[in-house]
């Protein structure tokens, strides 16, 4: 009896420990904000390999992508998580916009169909996340309802959030505007493409998920 009790306690603490060690960290945001570029940056920095394909045409990521067991270290601290890169969330998808970017009609329609499914999957996966990095394009108006809805939903689900203002290397970038739009959150400005300020991002990540 004592043996069974002891096993149960061990199992409980093992699961508790494992849960904390293998959290699901989601990258969410609107299309073309740089979620996959950031996912690639994290994976290249800590695993030595990239995660997904990036493109200037919106909705390049149309399926949930998971990279398991990413370990990040900072001093004596260490976190391990499964990184979940999600398709960008949008309220409209027009295949004609993809045609303007050079796709033929057939491919544009296929991309639009896959993109709508991707948005649905991203929303379904919200409940699975233990922590979320919301990636925003700092050159674009941050007050879009998609951004507000994503962050509002995470808040309602009590999921810890880190807001990343990406593309700070670009002239039109406005970090202050992103900070003003989400004053209740810590906002870290980075360039996922060039790696600018990426150490601050990792530090902020420790504060949110550790």
């Amino acid at each position: 009896m004592a043996n069974i009790f002891s096993k149960l306690i061990n199992k409980f603490f093992h699961n508790l420990f494992r849960k904390k060690k293998h959290i699901k960290l989601g990258l969410y945001g609107p299309p073309n904000a740089g979620k996959t570029t950031l996912a690639n940056r994290i994976c290249e920095d800590w695993l030595g390999e990239s995660m997904g394909k990036v493109s200037n045409i919106a909705h390049e990521t149309r399926e949930i992508q998971i990279k398991e067991q990413v370990n990040i270290k900072s001093g004596s601290k260490e976190i391990s998580f499964n990184l979940v890169d999600t398709p960008g969330i949008a309220t409209k998808i027009d295949y004609e916009e993809f045609m303007k970017s050079g796709l033929n009609e057939k491919n544009a329609k296929k991309r639009a169909k896959e993109a709508t499914k991707g948005v649905i999957d991203s929303i379904k996966w919200l409940d699975e996340m233990d922590a979320v990095v919301v990636v925003l394009d700092s050159t674009i108006d941050p007050y879009s309802q998609v951004n507000i809805t994503i962050i509002g939903n995470l808040e309602a689900r009590k999921i810890p959030v880190l807001v990343v203002a990406n593309k700070i290397d670009l002239k039109k970038s406005n970090l202050k505007k992103v900070e003003a739009a989400f004053p209740q959150y810590h906002v870290v400005g980075i360039s996922a493409k060039n790696g600018d300020n990426i150490d601050d991002f990792y530090e902020s990540l420790f504060r949110v998920v550790a």
Binding site: I93, D94, T116, D141, T149, G152, A156
Partner: protein, 138 residues
């Protein structure tokens, strides 16, 4: 012609979440701009996006969505508790939700002080070019 349809909160308050989303989306699909008194629950907003994605086809390209909500920063704790309780019991009637079909509403720009609605109008007998019209509100 641009059609705006105002929906008082009383018209959706007795409906289920699915019913609310269905009602609002059906109006937007009729190429009308919905002005809803108050706002949906946060979870309903994401369900609205999900439902919109499920309905996208060659005629319906999706929606533009925006919520104007009064700033709550300066409210006292008591006022906030009262407000939250009222929202729980009666629904959130504060603010205004704008839902427009993407084929008509090109963009809704919002900052804390004003809202701008950009509509897309195609010249009826023109060369297919489109122009954008700005409508300001605050």
């Amino acid at each position: 012609m641009l059609t705006l349809q105002f929906i008082p909160y009383t018209e959706i308050e007795s409906l289920s979440s699915v019913g609310r989303i269905r009602k609002l989306l059906n109006i937007a699909k009729e190429n009308k701009i919905v002005l809803l008194e108050g706002r949906l629950k946060k979870e309903e907003e994401t369900e609205l996006i999900k439902a919109t994605m499920e309905e996208i086809n060659k005629d319906f390209k999706g929606i533009e969505l925006s919520v104007i909500y009064p700033e709550k920063k300066e409210n006292s704790i008591m006022k906030r508790v009262r407000g939250n309780l009222a929202n729980m019991l009666l629904g959130d009637r504060q603010g205004l939700t704008i839902i427009g079909p993407a084929s008509i509403v090109h963009e809704i720009k919002k900052d804390p002080d004003k809202i701008q609605l950009f509509t897309e109008e195609t010249y009826p007998e023109g060369n297919g070019k489109s122009r954008k019209k700005r409508r300001n509100g605050s």
